[in-house]
Structures are given as C-alpha cells and as structure tokens.
Amino acid sequence: MTQILPEITNINAAFWQGGKNGELFISQCDDCEFFIHPPSAFCVKCHSRNVSAQAVSGDGTVSSFSVNFQKWLPELETPYVVAIVELKEQENLRFVTNIIGCDPNSVRIGTPVEVTFENHEDVWLPLFRPKEFGAET
C-alpha cells in the first residue's frame, strides 16, 4: 500500500481527525495564544501547560514545495506536489502537506492555498488547493 497513515495519539488526534467536521485544528497556548506545531501539550513561548487544540482558518501560502516524479513504490502515482504550507494565523506556523486540485507545475512559492481534507480510515489528511484555480503565475 502506498498510503501511510499517522499513528493517532491523544495529543495529535485533533490535528489528524478535525477534518471529519471540516476543520483544521492546531495546538494553541491558552495563555499567550501562540500556536505550536506539531501538536503539543506545552507552550515553548511562555512555558504554559495550558495548551489546547483550536480551529484555524485553513488559509495559508506555499512556503516551499517540490514536485515528486520518482516512483518510490511500484504503485505510486506521479507526479504529485509535496509542500510546506504556512498558515496565515502566525509567521512560521507551517507543516508538510500536499497541494492538490491543480497542475503540479503551476504551484509556486507564495501561492495562496486553502485546506481540504482527504479521508483514509480514521484519519482526515489536511491537504491544500490553490485559492483561485489557475490564477497563479
């Protein structure tokens, strides 16, 4: 199988399963409002233990990306876009994901994107698609 899924834990469940209700959850400090990713129970900014998963807009920009052409596994469908998307809520709040719903060659650093979810078993992978289809240069 080519689709690898994350191991769900108490800490990361909101991030990987929030898509069930169409929402992207990110860990946020209740005291200083700093977002922390990957999901965590401790605020690295103010050292508070009051951290909880909060829904965010799901809007961001492509911080960097790569179009993968290599068939690492025989059944892998290529090409596809791996990207690091930075969420609009906080500078450097970002994670690895895929950009879908567009020509892989049209993705650029800075492309505005919005979250969309892809369900596999008990996981809703947060993927992103360009906000305005075909508008990138």
Binding site: M1, T2, Q3, I4, L5, P6, E7, H37, P38, S63, S64, F65, S66, V67, N68, F69, Q70, W72, L73, L76, Y80, V82, A83, I84, N92, R94, F95, V96, T97, N98, I109, V123, L125, L127
Partner: protein, 395 residues
C-alpha cells in the same frame, strides 16, 4: 582553550555497489586498518563510538553498533555509545572526543558501517521512509509520521524544498547547483575507491532524471556498502603514534531549532547554529580552511553548509560555485576531494573525516591537494548537523 583530542589513524573497507562482503567483514576491515594506521593494537582501544548505532536490529542504514563491534572484536572498554539522537552523522566523532576530554578513554574507535546497496539489491524500496517507520500502514515515528502520510517516501522531497527555497530567495539556478555534482565527479575520477568515475558534463547533469524538483538524479548520493573507522587519541597517548596526528581544533554541535525537517530554517536548516558554535571555539577563520568535506547526501546540502560555515556569503553560494573553478581541487575552496557521497559513495558521515585526514597526511594520491593543513568537515541535513575543524597537529 585546551585541545586534547587527536585523530591518530583512519581506515576504510572497500566501497562497493554492492560489496560481496558481509557487514561484519567490512567493519573488521575498516577497524583493523584504522588501529594499525594509528600504530596501535586492539588491546589499546578502550572506547567505541558509533552513529547511529544498531538502532533498528541490523537495518542496512547501520547494521552494526558499538555493542555489536565490542562483541565482534572482543574489546575491553571503559566507555561505548551510539544512538541516532545527536548532532548528525559525525555525532560519533563528537561523542568519542567528549569521552576522551572527560578523561574516560585513551583511544576511542569511531566507526560506521552501511550496507544500503546490498539491501536495495534485494528490495528496491528497502530505504523508503515508510519501510523504515511504518507498521501495518501506520507510521509511529514522532518525526517521520508528520511527513510520510503526504507521500514523503524519501528525505529528498524535504531537502528539495530547501533547494526550491534557495532558488526562490537567492536566485540559485540548476546550472549553478550542478557544479556540486560535477566537482564531486571530477574528484572521484582521481579516487580509485569511488563508485562513479566517468566524466560528467553540465549537459549530463541537466538531462538527468528529475527526482523531486528541483533535485535531479545526480543531486542524490549513491548507495554503497562500506565501513569507515577513525581512531581518536588523548594528547599524551597520541605521542606514541608514528606520524603527526590530526588535531580536532573545534567541534560544532549547536542546535537552537526544533528537531524537525519542516519547522527549521528552510534556507539553512541547523547549519548556521552548528557553524556559529564551531567558529566560537577557535581562533581560526574560514580563510584558514584548505579544503572542506561537506555532506552531499543531496547536492544542495553542500551549498547550504558552505554558506552557513562562512566559506561564502549567505545567499551567494550559487554565484560562488558557478563554473566550478573555486571549488575544484585547484580552486580557493576545494570541496569533497574524494568524490563525496555523490560520486564516491554514501559512506554517510565518516567518509568526510577519512578524506580530510588523508589530505592532511598527504596520502590522497592523484587527488592530493597542494597544501592541506586545515580541513573542515560538516555532515547532516535537516535537523541533523555537526561539524569539526581538523588541522595538522604539533605535539
């Protein structure tokens, strides 16, 4: 600052794609050569350091760890240690040096064996991340589990995003980046142990298959089977060695960033932390470096290390390597003089230390640099990073 740790000997097995020898045979070849090179016997070795160690029950990435080596060679040790969690592929060198500085050991055998080539002959997917971390389709790795669900089957995709960022922010071009691969290939031509030695042109590079844009096949290192060993000795013990040993002038192991591939600086990873840390521990400057053996698991990593270590200005790496003259063996900053991992073979870390010592000792044969008193070694990509400044000792 007291500096007490010297390299007194190095050894390396054959480097093959694949080798017909077992991991154990390769390891014994490298270790015995290093011990003999230092003028020592196995009975003198009282420490063993390895990165990453046997962290996955004989997996080809590191089939033999300190414990396996201790048993294999029948060593009587005062200290031994391995483990993945440290400042990158030369963490073993750093740990071994610390064991000596702490007064625990006199002579530490640092080694690394890798058998990825023979493993991939049996199963082409042997080194994909999912194969390593996932069980029953679930990736339990705290680190890789963040990436593998998105089709990140190799670190190349993460590193490709660092390259893309460099292209975007600093104007790096494929023609410039290609000079890393070309330089390594030209150096490999003069290294009888290197795996790929036939000439490579810029056109060859540009026409090579795109793996994960903007990185091409020739931007990726080549799997091999090999073992490399380095002997570290305490200053007073190094005096027994038959030739001037190599002094570890400074080590860089700093890391201010999360242990992650996507939360760190996308242009310079942890390399700037490491470099700053290393240069703060020596009076030597980048200008004093005669050659740099810099990690080239992927070509862009070499460029990132060059910038981070101050061998050129931040963002100027592309222009610095353009045309390849400056980084050739006859240039102002020769890099990866044995062909690196891109053409020499993915010995994964200690190969750079081995080559740095060969150059300082004047034993590099046809690829010997005219002058080499000081050599810089740095290894790692993403959150992994460590460096060492080596220079001709003067005991």
């Amino acid at each position: 600052m007291k500096k007490n740790v010297y390299i007194t000997g190095v050894g390396q097995s054959e480097v093959k794609r694949p080798s017909l020898k077992s991991a154990e045979e390769l390891t014994v070849d490298a270790c015995l050569e290093a011990v003999s090179d230092a003028g020592l016997s196995l009975a003198d070795i009282d420490g063993v350091a390895c990165w990453p160690g046997d962290n996955n029950n004989g997996a080809p990435f590191s089939p033999i760890g300190p414990v396996g080596l201790k048993t294999l060679l029948g060593l009587d040790l005062k200290w031994f240690g391995g483990g993945y969690e440290g400042p990158g592929p030369i963490a073993s060198l750093i740990n071994g040096a610390m064991a000596i500085e702490a007064g625990i050991c006199r002579h530490v055998l640092v080694f690394r064996t890798i058998t990825e080539s023979s493993a991939r002959q049996k199963d082409k997917t042997a080194s994909t991340l999912g194969k390593l971390g996932a069980k029953n389709g679930r990736d339990r790795s705290n680190l890789w589990g963040n990436y593998t669900p998105f089709g990140v089957h190799s670190a190349v995709m993460l590193v490709a995003m660092y390259a893309q960022k460099h292209f975007h922010k600093y104007g790096l071009t494929s023609e410039q980046l290609g000079q890393i691969a070309l330089t390594c290939r030209a150096n490999a031509a003069e290294n009888p142990k290197a795996i790929y030695r036939s000439p490579m042109s810029l056109d060859n590079y540009l026409e090579s298959r795109m793996i994960s844009s903007p990185l091409r096949m020739f931007d990726c290192d080549i799997h091999c089977d090999a073992s490399t060993a380095i002997i570290l000795s305490r200053k007073d013990c190094a005096k027994d060695s038959s030739r001037d040993p190599v002094l570890i002038e400074a080590i860089g192991a700093g890391n201010s960033q999360p242990w992650s591939w996507d939360q760190i600086s996308l242009t310079h990873m942890v390399a700037r932390d490491v470099a700053q840390d290393m240069w703060s521990k020596t009076d030597l400057k980048p200008n004093d470096v005669d050659c740099a053996q810099l990690y080239d698991g992927f070509s862009i990593l070499t460029l990132i290390w060059m910038e981070a270590l101050g061998l050129c200005e931040i963002g100027e790496g592309g222009r610095f390597i353009e045309g390849g003259k400056r980084i050739a063996r006859t240039g102002e900053m020769p890099i990866n003089t044995n062909g690196g991992q891109l053409s020499g073979g993915r010995t994964h870390g200690l190969g750079y230390v081995h080559e740095a010592c060969q150059q300082i000792w004047g034993r590099a044969g046809a690829r010997q640099l005219k002058t080499c008193n000081t050599a810089l070694v740095a290894a790692g990509g993403g959150p992994l990073g460590g460096s060492a400044l080596l220079r001709r000792g003067d005991i």
